[in-house]
Amino acid sequence: MFPSFFAPAGDLFAELDRLSRDMQQLFDGLPVNIRAGRRGGFPALNIGYTPSSVEVYAFAPGVDPQRIKVEIHKGVLTIEGERASDLPPASDKVNVYANERMAGSFKRVISLPDDIDPAQVDATYRDGLLHISIKRRADAQPRRIAIH
């Protein structure tokens, strides 16, 4: 009826981008986390499990680490913060040719496995990469039983 209402003019590329992502998901066939949102969220996340920990890598360049809020509540990890724009205010003396970098507030939410220990979390920020390491509870570790 009013397609322009939903896809503002000039948003053709965003629409193509979305299409290609949907196609990719179709072919990948992998289930997507319900909280993943659209692909391409900021910060991009890589997550790995080791037998003793959950390792979360958040690619968050140019963010003041003091202003990143990392929280674990009821088995859900939230990474929240804000990134200021580096672009100068618009004026007739300045031309902006590309504005691809995310600016503004961001939030990513990740559900964690049941056996994590929210008291043993370590977060470091280096080279624009936020690494959160969450230990799994010792009583959940596989343990070899000695046979006498």
């Binding site: 890589n46 790995g48 080791t50 902006v96 280096r126 080279d127």
Partner: protein, 125 residues
């Protein structure tokens, strides 16, 4: 006469799996500033190559990974960033200035003196 750089952001070489770092590009009277997001790249793994015609930004993601880790989510799917641009001649590539902090590269390429805008006096004949 500032608008002489219509050929600037032209990416080249996209054959091997690399990440395309998002950029902001701003031009003012005295030069061009490029900001690029390259999270996870330590300073010694970043290469910025500039010659008279082109600019290439390349970086390798490098950080310690624990052993025996199974990936459950990988939104970043390649360990390398690369992006190239062609430059125009009024840029003074010998005077580039690059700062790399917290995974953000800020590269300033000034214009050569005579390329800066000049107001042309219009005389009444």
């Amino acid at each position: 006469m500032t608008e002489t750089r219509s050929n600037v952001p032209a990416e080249t070489r996209r054959d091997d799996p690399v990440l395309l770092p998002p950029v902001d590009i701003v031009e003012d009277d005295t030069g061009i500033t490029v900001y690029a997001d390259l999270p996870g790249v330590p300073k010694d793994k970043l290469a910025v190559r500039v010659d008279r015609e082109s600019l290439t930004i390349e970086g390798e993601i490098s950080f310690g990974l624990p052993e025996k880790m199974d990936a459950v989510l990988a939104e970043v799917q390649a360990p390398r960033y690369r992006r190239s641009f062609t430059l125009s001649r009024e840029l003074d590539t010998d005077k580039c200035d690059a700062v790399f902090k917290d995974g953000v590269l800020k590269l300033r390429i000034p214009k050569v003196e005579h390329a800066k805008p000049r107001r042309i006096e219009v005389k009444v004949g």
